[in-house]
Symmetry: none
Subunit: 221 residues, 2 copies
DNA sequence: CATCGTCTCGCATGATTGTGCGATACCGCG
DNA sequence: CGCGGTATCGCACAATCATGCGAGACGATG
């Protein structure tokens, strides 16, 4: 690879101004990269895309997943639409696995911890630009598990859900209320309530909609 | 984490005898690992599983993907069946992406190049045992792309849903409450309530779970 | 037999929903 | 200029839900 190649054009979208400037400077400090613009929200960046020549379009976008206004997930889809060749790197804090998974399904090519050392961030941008992916190993694992489940419809018990819990979950995904479930299973309302409570804990959600959503998205039943 | 914890029991399955012994020795050289057995083919290893106490079962299997007899892919399925908790690391040469993808769909948790330094192999085993995954970035990228393709559905039936309604539905499928949606959209709680009410009518449901379920099942978004 | 996980049931309270019944305002269209 | 569709906002009340706390019964497992 030539050392005189044009540097990669990178955009950074991150709402915390101080942090954004730090990272932008770090990116540009690498001779192989140039942070040609940075924004505090997707909307601004998307508006800018239309105003510039294609030769100025970014090749990589580093995108905070937790932005005000348009979410990172929607942002990915929007960018992918107007810049089909762009590579998108997520920028996020730890413990946000579900959103990261959704983002990956939306087309992100990598995942970066905000707490990463700057040199790792630079390395990740280059990795992604060269056709690789940059993912934290625990996220990678969840991606693999998800894929394994999609690849093999074989019902694998997930999240340690009990038979009873799965049955109740099934009712929930049909839109039933606790009361209806109790009568369908011929048990007490309180019992159903307890089971749902345990389901919430195992699935890390705290609403019916969250449980239903996770169940259907991850093919838990 | 204790330094006196029992070492991880690792099996190695690889048909090239010299290389197998080298790697086995390297694995056991780490105090955290112990290569308790190594085989030249899956069949032998599978037979051994039945003959031993569960406490001697391996926690991680490092498996060559290109084996004589039973293929690595079949091997993964067989091991996963008789040792549900086992973690499987693929061991392979470069340029074998398609088979690696198949293997991942079969349940492998990681991927290792035979040309990797021994210290990386040890690290990968530990990574996988602790719930992570170990994947080369180019494989990771193909996995991500595959997932993105699966995640992107097709043209869909609508129910005459408005743009606003679809947006609110999206929030609902993320498990958000009305209050959260209102603040995310920067509007009144009552407005959100009204929209949801209209969504219910259009989708013929009367609970959040019903709406979420219908949305995800029929790929409404 | 002691412990653990599961299923069962209960109560109480505050938060959230579902729904009926309004109202104002903007916009496109005939 | 009316009219329909959409988006906005409001109130009120019953139903439902989320969650903390507690507890008895049963089977499996060590």
């Amino acid at each position: 690879m030539s050392v005189t190649a044009d540097p990669l054009r990178v955009w950074l979208i991150e709402d915390q101004a101080a942090f954004r400037r730090t990272v932008a400077r770090a990116l540009s400090s690498s001779p192989a990269l140039e942070c040609t613009a940075h924004f505090d929200r997707c909307e601004t960046a998307l508006g800018e895309v239309g105003r510039m020549r294609p030769s100025e379009h970014p090749q990589v976008i580093v995108l905070d997943i937790g932005l005000p206004g348009m979410s990172g997930i929607e942002g990915i889809k929007a960018f992918k639409q107007c810049l089909p060749a762009v590579q998108i790197l997520l920028f996020t804090v730890f413990e946000d696995e579900d959103r990261v998974l959704q983002a990956i399904c939306a087309g992100a090519s990598g995942y970066l911890l905000k707490s990463s050392p700057l040199r790792e961030i630079i390395a990740a941008v280059q990795e992604v630009a060269s056709g690789g992916a940059s993912i934290h190993s625990h996220i990678a694992r969840r991606v693999l598990d998800l894929l394994a489940r999609l690849g093999q419809p074989t019902a694998t018990p997930q999240y340690g859900l009990t038979e009873t819990e799965r049955d109740i979950l099934k009712h929930l995904t049909n839109g039933s209320s606790k009361k209806e479930i109790a009568s369908a299973r011929d048990t007490s309302f309180h019992t159903v309530s307890t089971h749902i409570r345990n389901i919430y804990e195992k699935l890390h959600v705290h609403t019916v909609s969250g449980a239903v959503s996770k169940t259907l998205r991850e093919r838990l039943l």
